[in-house]
Symmetry: C2
DNA sequence: CCACTAGCGCACCGATCGGTACCGAAGGAG
DNA sequence: CTCCTTCGGTACCGATCGGTGCGCTAGTGG
């Protein structure tokens, strides 16, 4: 069918879907999947339940789209960090980005990928799994980058790419947990600094 | 009044309150505060709602008592680790204990103090704050132990007790997040090992 | 101008939430 | 035994949960 016409037939939507998704992300980020009710979400988005369902599907779909937006927005420092020339610079950019993003003014403290749904009841299990996959994908990206560094001779041949990747992700996640508990950016930067002091941890 | 008589007046309770609290802890641990419904909890505890309310107060009280039990049970490795003679041994016992407890067979993967309520809606905000306080208390205990090590000359005088404490807690929390995502104990042990490789991180 | 399509929002759905009133049952104190 | 206190279970409370049916409205295409 003609699903991609320039001007869609019918009444055009009266709200900015991108802006609404951004608001939804903030609510999920602050309250988690189960802690964010449809009333909370739609009120923040400035639309009614019906409009939300038409535009995004349902609560779970909205959560997944918010996660994608998180990846492309606040968490975009991750793929950027992978482009650094050396493993040390990759690790530094990754952890510094983690500190910055988990203490972003105007955004909830912590990492959406961690606190969005770390534990959940039956209702939120799918959201929980989606975030677990997201975090594991992050470890995979780090591992591949570390392996490349080993192959290029940037890291010693005996280094363990998986171990380094998991370590960096653990420090990043730990920073996120402390940020969620109210830690200041300067305190968390010290954590990132000390984690990098002896890099490459040979 | 006579609140502490040897044999309490009235019908004695027909269930083991300690065992019931243990079961409740497991449910909160696995599902989080908001993800654990009273039906889930009471079914696991083997008692009715009424008995639970009589014995423990309400859901929030039950959660706090479960947290206390967690501290005295699975998380008892923390105060034990603080009694190790050197800072290096303290750090090693702390992180190894973290790996063990977050991957305990028969228990939910991860740390109750992290995933019990990292983010929450209005209903779970008090539980969330209780866990934030609990985690900050953990950092305080570590900081005081690190300061003692500095005072005793075990760590160099220029060391930063707060920084070391936050770093150790970050690695521990990061291990917990990865455990919640399904990581194996052996993988997490490698994370702990690498974090300790260059201790005392001078 | 009309027909069609789709956004919008009210009102409502059944299910489930945490919490409680009530009542019969069970055991100690006298 | 009788009183008294507490336990345990049923049945229920109002509130809120995620999700929808339906009528109205606002645009586009012919």
């Amino acid at each position: 069918m003609d699903t991609k016409r320039k001007t869609p037939i019918g009444r055009p939507r009266a709200f900015d879907a991108d802006a609404a998704l951004e608001r939804a992300l903030l609510v999920f980020w602050a309250n988690g999947y189960e802690g964010a009710s449809l009333d909370d979400l739609t009120e923040a988005m400035g639309i009614t339940r019906t409009s939300m369902y038409r535009a995004f599907g349902n609560k779970e779909d909205l959560f997944r789209k918010a996660l994608q937006r998180y990846s492309e927005g606040p968490a975009a420092y991750v793929p950027r960090a992978m482009e650094e020339p050396t493993a040390r610079e990759v690790a530094t950019a990754f952890l510094n980005g983690s500190v910055r993003t988990t203490t972003l003014p105007g955004c909830p403290a912590g990492c959406f990928g961690v606190q969005g749904s770390l534990a959940a009841g039956e209702a939120g299990r799918r959201a929980q799994q989606a975030l677990a996959v997201w975090r594991n994908d992050g470890i995979t990206v780090l591992r591949e980058r570390m392996q490349r560094a080993i192959d290029e001779g940037d890291l010693p041949a005996g280094a363990d790419a998986d171990q380094l990747a998991r370590y960096l992700m653990a420090v990043s996640n730990g920073i996120a947990v402390q940020a969620a508990g109210g830690a200041e950016r300067a305190e968390l930067q010290l954590v990132a600094d000390i984690a990098l002091r002896h890099w490459p941890l040979g």
